[in-house]
């Protein structure tokens, strides 16, 4: 079933074209990776999908309904986001932050019910942060912070989870830990990823972006070829297989 359909969206600021005629669709349960060099428009495209930005032209539909028609609350019940940066003004405890994921379900004066506490507990358990419940967010390490924000997004119980470079600033252990964690989630995921080997190892489908346009899309095997990598990322690559996971693995080199 198609959850999200992106139909030839473009985005420009004054005269500068940031995104150019992008179309793709997201089916239920897919893990879609968005890859591309810096400035290729990955984050901008994600921001349009979670409606922080409004496309200049084109249409995004969620459950066959125009995304722009959704009330903000209903949108947040469907799409949860872990964005690149999480500037937290003033300090909250982990529990408080994760509980904020329940905001879209709350009417005025509604109390936090047992159900909400249960969801928060489960989300924290899934994100592996149960031991941090009463800690302050500012005291946490980068990896812990990412997992807290992930738990908050999970508490939204949305249909689609959008991750903007979730492994940024994480050490190698936490990168794999986080990717393992999200892959196991029974949820549809669209993630912008920098590390191509992570993208190859975890995603069902990849969207390759170049200069604000969708260059190519398909399975990692279809997309991550020597030619594409040369043209989009300007690197020489040797495409191989990871002997342990049987997934695609890339080796990069320059000619010097």
């Amino acid at each position: 079933m198609i959850l999200l359909q992106v139909e030839s969206i473009s985005y420009s600021i004054s005269d500068k074209q940031i995104l150019d005629d992008i179309s793709f669709s997201v089916a239920q349960g897919q893990f879609i990776g968005v890859i591309g060099p810096n400035g290729s428009g990955k984050s901008t495209m994600l921001k349009i999908i979670y409606r922080h930005l409004k496309q200049t032209s084109g249409l995004v539909t969620l459950f066959e309904k125009d995304l722009l028609q959704f009330p903000q609350k209903e949108l947040a019940q469907n799409i949860a986001v872990v964005s690149q940066e999480a500037p937290v003004l003033f300090d909250f405890t982990v529990k408080e932050l994760v509980m904020m994921g329940r905001t879209p379900y709350k009417k005025w004066l509604a109390r936090d019910k047992d159900e909400d506490y249960a969801i928060v507990r489960d989300s924290m358990h899934l994100a592996n942060i149960s031991h941090l419940t009463n800690r302050y967010f500012s005291e946490l390490s980068g990896g812990e912070k990412k997992r807290v924000l992930l738990a908050r997004a999970l508490a939204q119980q949305a249909n689609i989870l959008i991750l903007d470079e979730p492994t940024n600033h994480l050490d190698i252990e936490h990168q794999y830990q986080l990717m393992d964690l999200v892959r196991e989630l029974p949820i549809t995921i669209v993630a912008a990823l920098h590390d191509l080997n992570l993208a190859a190892g975890y995603c069902d489908e990849l969207l390759v972006m170049k200069d604000g346009a969708l260059f190519q899309s398909g399975t990692p095997e279809e997309v991550l070829t020597k030619e594409t990598l040369q043209e989009v990322f300007r690197v020489n690559a040797f495409v191989s297989k990871n002997p342990f996971t049987e997934k695609l693995h890339l080796f990069f080199y320059t000619e010097q």
Partner: protein, 346 residues
């Protein structure tokens, strides 16, 4: 902060507030015992009690001291919750309720009444009316200046607030400069520094109702206020309609601040420091910050007004001087605390 500890804190603060109010009513040239105060209070509320109070004592307590002390509590609570809300609105720790131009606008109105006799048809309500009108006009201007492409920009709100405040202060200063009446100038100064001396039962009703309504509205939206602290983008992804919510907060806050300034002048510092002090104890969650700020703000102002009354008795010190003198050093002490980051996050 756990829920039970928070409730305990709340009850303690309610107790402290009641004791402070009792104490503040006792204070003055006519000696009054705490027992008499409560007897008169119960009698006025229609509960039959034996009272030993004389008629004079009853009048002093009921007509003069109690309204004033209650106004102090109302003003303190109002400024504190407005400060807390506005700090979330502009996501900035230096914000106070006057940052959108309320006090400078109110000053123009008040000065026009005191020096030029504007709105004299309104009699004793002219001052409050003009101050409120000035406050609201200033906020409306700031708000319109901050609108770009149908959205309210935070940085423009702050800068427009500064610009409008400058213009309005210039108008006030111009009126002061051109005035020949010494007494009038002094009255304006007194008003601008804040005073609760004008408190009567008739003029605390409006602040009370406004405080009640605005407090409930803000408290109902505590989740949205929390989300605002995470930034515009995150708040949006949590289902907060940012633009509409900002407009609501601006309306609530400027309404309440305008009403309070109209009756008491622009008492400084309360709206800035109380929310920070409260966050040091209960954390940033607005579910706890709002009620605690209201109580701490009212306790603080009840005491500040007591000091204002006695420090140069029988003259009265403007309460704004007291809040600044007490608040300043305390704020500096807070600045040196490491645990509390004033919202810097890291």
């Amino acid at each position: 902060m756990t829920k039970s500890r928070f409730m305990l804190l709340l009850w303690i603060l309610v107790g402290v507030l009641l004791i402070s109010i009792t104490f503040a009513v006792m204070l003055g040239s006519v000696g009054i015992t705490p027992g008499i105060i409560w007897e008169i209070l119960f009698a006025k509320l229609g509960i039959p009690v034996e009272t030993s109070a004389s008629r004079a004592q009853a009048i002093i307590i009921w007509e003069i001291r109690l309204p004033r002390v209650l106004l102090a509590a109302l003003v303190g609570a109002s400024l504190a919750i407005c400060g807390a809300a506005i700090q979330a609105l502009v996501k900035n720790s230096i914000a106070d309720p006057y940052i959108l131009g309320v006090s400078s606008g109110a000053s123009v109105g008040a000065t026009a009444v005191i020096l030029l006799g504007a709105f004299s048809a309104l009699g004793m309500y002219a001052l409050s009316f003009a101050a409120f009108l000035g406050a609201i006009s200033a906020v409306v201007m700031v708000f319109l200046l901050a609108r770009v492409n149908g959205r309210t920009s935070v940085i423009r709100l702050l800068l427009a607030g500064i610009a409008i405040s400058m213009v309005f202060s210039a108008i006030t200063n111009f009126m002061l400069m051109m005035s020949k009446q010494q007494g009038g100038i002094q009255a304006v100064m007194h008003w601008m520094l804040g005073s609760l001396a004008g408190a009567k039962w008739s003029n605390i009703a409006i602040p009370f109702c406004t405080l009640l309504v605005v407090f409930i509205l803000l408290f109902m939206n505590y989740r949205q206020l929390n989300a605002l602290l995470l930034g515009e983008e995150s708040a949006g992804t949590l289902g907060v309609n940012i633009d509409r919510f900002r407009i609501l907060i601006i309306i609530f806050v400027s309404l309440l601040t305008g009403v309070v300034v109209a009756v008491s002048g622009s008492i400084g510092f309360v709206g800035l420091i109380i929310p920070h002090l409260v966050r040091m104890v209960v954390g940033s969650n607005y579910k706890y910050v709002l009620p605690t700020s209201a109580l701490v703000g009212s306790i603080f102002l009840v005491w500040a007004d007591m000091v204002a009354r006695i420090v140069i008795a029988p003259e009265e010190m403007p309460i704004g001087i007291i809040t600044a003198v007490c608040g300043g050093p305390f704020f500096i002490w807070m600045l040196r605390k490491r645990r509390y980051s004033f919202g810097e996050g890291e």
